[in-house]
């Protein structure tokens, strides 16, 4: 089955710093999502991005499907950005069933 690897596994930043999180996947995928899980466990969908680039405020994401990776950029990080970031890929088109990576745990220090 598809393998989804995220790097780095852990990241500590000072408030205001920028960061790039990476998601590699081992096979062609049709859909990809990025999520943020806050310290209370709530998962929030950040981007639905099977290809191309999207931006939402200080966050942006790029997926290069032909090269099997996606990047999540966080600019001017804030303490509220802390938590775990997951990417998830749809293993078979049209099933809406996603396989999740193991996440990048981000801590932003004030």
């Amino acid at each position: 089955g598809i393998q989804v690897e995220q790097s780095p596994p852990d990241l500590i930043l000072q408030e205001g710093a920028n960061s790039t999180l990476r998601c590699n996947f081992s096979d062609s995928v049709n859909n990809l999502q990025w999520f943020h899980q806050n310290p209370w466990g709530q998962l929030i969908n950040l981007f639905y991005i099977p290809s191309g680039t999207k931006q939402n405020g200080r966050l942006s994401a790029t997926t290069v499907a032909t090269e099997r990776y996606s990047l999540l950029y966080i600019s001017s990080s804030q303490t509220t950005d802390s938590g775990v970031y997951f990417c998830a890929v749809e293993r078979t088109s049209g099933t809406y069933k996603y396989i999740f990576g193991t996440g990048t745990r981000l801590k932003v220090l004030a």
């Binding site: 859909n31 999502q33 999520f35 209370w40 466990g41 709530q42 998962l43 929030i44 969908n45 981007f47 639905y48 997951f86 998830a88 049209g94 099933t95 809406y96 069933k97 996603y98 396989i99 999740f100 990576g101 193991t102 996440g103």
Partner: protein
């Protein structure tokens, strides 16, 4: 705002009990999902439903069943709870068409003693 509501935030049950976890969405979504999340293992799909009374097994269905009698409600049933089912359970829903992502509930942390 789109909402997925899980009935309990924390639950403690005894080994052997039958346990019901409820999930309700108010977005008229076709698809609903149950995942469990464990440290080091990430999120794993238990069951999935793409329509009322329809269900599909995910990666780890053993020891679980599901029920979807109405479009807005998707229940996860632990037939006979065991300690290895202690976990965080997450419900999600999505539209049944391309181009839309998941919306997750806030999770139920289940402890089986």
């Amino acid at each position: 705002d789109v909402k997925v509501t899980q009935s309990s935030r924390y639950l403690v049950k005894r080994t052997g009990e039958k346990v019901f976890l409820e999930c309700v969405q108010d977005m008229d979504h076709e698809n609903m999902f149950w995942y469990r999340q464990d440290p080091g293992l990430g999120l794993r799909l238990i069951y999935f439903s793409y329509d009322v009374k329809m269900k599909e097994k995910g990666d780890i269905p053993e020891g679980y069943s599901v029920s979807r009698e109405k479009k807005e409600r998707f229940s996860l049933i632990l037939e006979s709870a065991s300690t290895n089912q202690t976990s965080m359970y997450l419900c999600a829903s999505s539209l049944g068409s391309w181009g839309y992502g998941y919306t997750f509930g806030s999770g139920t942390r289940l402890t089986v003693v």
